[in-house]
């Protein structure tokens, strides 16, 4: 009898715990669900939430569609500064690889998906806009000695999208200003005055993000977080995370004094290497199968 009671209590308690889990499902989109159900670790969930909190409550108020339109305009501005490396085979390769990496991230779904382009410059640089438009320079691709390293670079950029770093660059005052645009929630066509107000906020937001991406760079901690996200993604897909370290070592050699691009906007490769060191224990040297080497070398030969 007693044993039965204990079992009954345990069962009830079990269902209570399960109930708590579903409460999280009900109240917290994304991070908590994934953590509660074991898809991502609690630490990852915390890091996602930190990223969100850092940008303030309003961050989540922006819909994926809003982020997509911000992303499109940022992308257009980036392409106003950099030419596109027009090589179909290389572009296709980067998109196949980038897509595989993005699907394994915590944010595989954006409004119209992830897209990748190569920038025709020797500068070591890469950008990721809200909504998932990702740019990588020929110069940065040349820092990659294997497909695994290139996967690391793309996963780092997907990490910035996943963690909302672009959106976090938008000044808080813009949210307040947007909130003041008169209640037109259902109106898909804004009146002249409202359009002017919303457009001003939009211009400001674009300016904030561009300044952060091109001139000032994200905070070091955001770069380290993107590196960590990249390692998680690589493990999920099956690329060797040590390839990120390989790439950073190459970048160290490539970034001379006074170098623009990552030299200006990112923490040094050395400090990034220090930060990921502990996460690479257990990952051996990068050795890629012949078939992977062949396709990677083929693309790189033209760069």
């Amino acid at each position: 009898m007693k044993r039965l009671l204990i079992i009954a209590i345990m069962l009830s308690f079990g269902s209570f715990l399960a109930g708590c889990q579903t409460l999280e499902v009900a109240t917290n989109m994304g991070a908590d669900i994934a953590a509660a159900t074991g898809a991502i670790s609690m630490q990852q969930a915390e890091s996602i939430k930190r990223g969100t909190q850092a940008a303030g409550q309003a961050f989540e108020e922006f819909t994926p569609e809003n982020k997509y339109y911000i992303g499109r305009t940022i992308a257009a501005n980036i392409l106003n500064k950099y030419n596109v490396y027009q090589n179909q085979e290389a572009t296709r390769y980067v998109n196949l690889l980038g897509q595989a990496v993005a699907l394994a991230s915590d944010k595989p779904e954006t409004f119209k998906g992830y897209h990748f382009l190569i920038m025709d410059t020797d500068e070591i640089n890469a950008f990721a806009t809200p909504g998932g438009f990702i740019f990588i320079s020929r110069g940065l691709m040349r820092c990659c000695t294997s497909e695994d390293s290139l996967a690391a670079v793309l996963a780092h950029e997907v990490g910035h999208v996943q963690l909302g770093h672009g959106m976090a660059a938008i000044q808080g005052s813009r949210y307040t200003a947007l909130g003041k645009v008169a209640g037109v929630e259902l109106a898909k066509n804004l009146g002249n005055e409202q359009l002017a107000q919303a457009a001003e906020v939009f211009d400001g937001a674009i300016g904030d993000i561009m300044k952060k991406m091109i001139d000032n760079g994200y905070q070091s901690t955001q770069e380290y977080d993107a590196d960590k996200a990249a390692i998680t993604i690589m493990k999920r897909v099956g690329y060797n995370p040590r390839a990120l370290a390989n790439m950073l070592e190459q970048m160290q050699k490539g970034l001379g004094p006074g170098a623009g691009g990552f030299g200006k906007t990112h923490p040094t490769p050395e400090s990034r290497l220090r930060n990921i060191g502990s996460l690479l224990q257990g990952s051996g040297a990068v050795q890629t199968p012949e078939t992977r080497k062949v396709r990677f070398n083929k693309v790189m030969a033209g760069l």
């Binding site: 009671l5 898809a39 569609e65 954006t110 897209h115």
Partner: protein, 166 residues
């Protein structure tokens, strides 16, 4: 033993009440991306069951990791999609979309829906004629399906360390 029985029953009752209160899944959620698929299994490489679009309301059936099993209203189709495609909020369907008729009251909508849409982009383009969007449009047309990504990984002999889902 008997002395224990009643208090235990009461305790069980309280616990089960609490459990009931906590088991409320969000009954419905909205698709917050332009378009995505419901799949037969909780993975991007699962067979496609149906295509769902922005603002469509789905009935939530089950969850597994970051995957949610949901069905179209009236049990038309059920399948899995990634949680990042969903929001608990109601979204205003796009004008002219197939799910356009709306009974959504404005109070339920996200405040941000009023900003940053195609109208704002058009305005920006008008004011910034030196900024070309033509490559952005081309970039968007580069389309890689999850199936193509899976084939790419297979060909490169890329296999997850932990045997987890790709």
């Amino acid at each position: 033993m008997k002395r224990l029985f009643i208090p235990t029953l009461i305790l069980l009752f309280i616990i089960s009440l609490a459990a009931t209160a906590f088991t409320a899944l969000p009954k419905e959620m909205s698709v917050q991306v332009d378009e995505t698929k419901l799949r037969a299994t909780p993975a991007y490489y699962g067979a496609v069951v149906a295509t769902v679009n922005y603002a469509e309301r789905l009935i939530i059936i089950d969850t597994k990791g970051p995957w949610v099993k949901a069905s179209l209203p009236h049990g038309r189709a059920a399948g899995w999609l990634h949680i990042s495609a969903l929001t608990g909020k109601r979204l205003a369907p796009k004008a002219g979309s197939k799910n356009a008729p709306t009974s959504v009251s404005s109070g339920e909508l996200s405040a941000a829906e009023k900003g940053f849409t195609e109208q704002i982009e058009a305005d920006y383009r008008e004011k910034n004629r030196d900024v070309s969007f033509s490559w952005v449009d081309k970039m968007e047309r580069i389309n890689v399906t999850p199936e193509q990504s899976a084939a790419f990984l297979r060909e490169g002999q890329v296999t997850p360390e932990l045997g987890g889902e790709p």
